[in-house]
């Protein structure tokens, strides 16, 4: 029985692998983009310039208050009206990255505010300049603090890539739907798809847990 069950899957293994790779590449690109937007927005929030603070606040407010799916539609279907026609993959990465950036910004801001003022002062008192003390004293400590929430953010980013199936990015979710359309076996294939996502998110958790253990010795 197991043998026949497996025979049903076998023709699709290569396809699942390809689709999983697409999910990974999508996730990595979107996460990197979200870090860039997040860092910019976090710096904007603590900026001396009111306009930048206001822009950051507006960005975070808009992203957190609207559905991710609508944001994806705006980028993929909405921007072409202004002549900006993006491939599904690029539109998806931009939409997810822009979305994740708002959450990353809040994470970075809370991490920065968790570092006591004395850490900066003692570095300044030794003659360190702004960028040196950020690089050597503040950011390494912020990174340790924000690693757990950043991991959660990476995991939800990976899961959110499945939303891109609706703008025809052939990732895991869309791939399994096309198979189901011909095999009529939704239960097995959706379970299989879920398990593949589960493996990937678990790997992220394990990597983060390893990093946390590595840093835990000092805090």
């Amino acid at each position: 029985m197991i043998a026949t069950w497996w025979e049903g899957f076998e023709p699709y293994v290569a396809g699942f692998l390809d689709a999983s790779v697409v999910v990974l590449v999508l996730s990595i690109c979107s996460i990197l983009v979200s870090w860039i937007f997040g860092l910019l927005a976090a710096l904007g929030k603590v900026s001396r310039f009111r306009l930048l603070r206001w822009l950051s606040d507006f960005y975070i407010w808009f992203i957190r208050g609207t559905p991710t799916l609508i944001q994806i539609f705006i980028v993929y279907f909405g921007l072409p009206q202004f002549g900006l026609r993006l491939s599904p993959f690029v539109a998806g990465v931009i939409a997810l990255g822009f979305n994740g950036g708002a959450y990353v910004a809040e994470i970075i801001r809370s991490g920065l505010s968790a570092i006591p003022r004395g850490q900066t002062e003692s570095a300044e008192a030794l003659g360190m300049g702004r960028s040196l003390l950020m690089r050597r004293i503040i950011l390494p400590q912020v990174f340790r603090i924000i690693l757990p929430p950043l991991t959660n953010e990476a995991i939800s980013m990976l899961k959110n890539t499945s939303l891109l199936s609706v703008i025809t990015v052939v990732e895991l979710t869309l791939y399994s739907q096309t198979i189901i359309a011909t095999t009529f076996r939704p239960f097995e294939f959706y379970i299989a798809t879920a398990l593949i996502y589960l493996v990937m998110t678990s790997v992220i958790s394990q990597i983060a847990a390893y990093l946390e253990r590595k840093f835990a010795r000092s805090l």
Binding site: P116, E121, S122, E124, A125, G127, M128, I137, R217
Partner: protein
């Protein structure tokens, strides 16, 4: 106060306000090489702010500061206001130790000590490490060099913080209530390190609540009151024969709590405090 060309630090008319509150109302002071200046005063008298103005962690609104080759005029319209680069150079020459140690928790003891010598002063790793280990040996913590600060007691952390500042070979050391956050039984080890630096001839300014220690170690005592230097002189004179009522009242309050706190512990403070009380008129 006449102009003093030989002073290591020369301060004239230092003003500092936070919004409508004027914390420093025009401080002028000369500090000479080798002087150990203790600064006492009630909280809010401006003594910590003054110390933080010396390495410009707080930017005064007016006044002048001369130290080594630096000659700053803090007036807003002055062309001699310090730039960011000036401040980095100035601070590299002035060591400062804080109430809350402020060691960097993500670095080992040794890394804490060699960070500024390497990154700010540009020392080679080998030289910085040898120097740091010698300093750590002096305070008996060389075997803790690969430990993280959280593994150390408060007194050990504060002594490492002092060594971290010393590693830059500063011309002056500023101590901002360095024993206030410590458990009473750990105060002694920090004070004796500060005292040994004084014996070495290090120029120091220390804001302290340890009146007895100020009397033992310093060569000069300032009493800060409402943003001004109210009394200035040798510690025995200032502390045993206060000219103003305000200082007399202040000493009475501080020594009372000192005696109570020291009741169970033999720290440096108690002997001095009792000596002063005994000689009060």
């Amino acid at each position: 106060m006449t102009a003093d060309r030989d002073a290591l630090i020369r301060i004239r008319g230092l003003h500092k306000s936070y919004g409508p509150i004027e914390v420093l109302k025009g401080i002028s002071l000369d500090v000479h090489q080798g002087e150990v200046v203790s600064i006492i005063g009630a909280s809010g008298s401006g003594k910590s702010t003054f110390l933080r103005c010396l390495n410009v962690l707080e930017m005064p609104q007016a006044g002048r500061l001369r130290f080594e080759g630096f000659d700053f005029d803090f007036d807003e319209n002055s062309r001699h206001r310090p730039t960011a680069a000036d401040l980095r150079l100035l601070r590299a020459r002035i060591g400062m130790v804080f109430q809350s140690y402020n060691l960097w928790p993500h670095m080992t003891v040794l890394e804490n000590v060699i960070e500024a010598p390497i990154r700010v002063a540009g020392q080679p790793l080998r030289e910085a490490t040898a120097n740091a280990e010698a300093l750590l040996a002096r305070i008996g913590l060389v075997d803790k060099r690969h430990s993280y600060p959280t593994r150390l007691s408060g007194g050990q952390q504060q002594r490492v913080a002092i060594v971290r500042a010393l590693a830059m070979a500063p011309k002056v050391m500023l101590f901002d209530e360095v024993t206030s956050a410590l458990d009473p039984e750990l105060v002694g080890e920090v004070l004796s390190l500060v005292a040994s630096l004084a014996e070495d001839g290090m120029t120091m300014l220390l804001v302290t609540h340890e009146i007895g220690f100020a009397r033992e170690v310093s060569t000069r005592t300032l009493f800060f009151d409402q943003g001004l230097v109210a009394e200035d002189g040798p510690p025995r004179e200032v502390l045993q024969d206060p000219r103003s009522d305000r200082l007399r009242q202040f000493l009475k309050r501080v020594l009372h709590t000192d005696v109570r706190r020291d009741a169970g512990h033999a720290v440096d403070g108690s002997a001095g405090a009792q000596a002063i009380e005994g000689s009060a008129p």
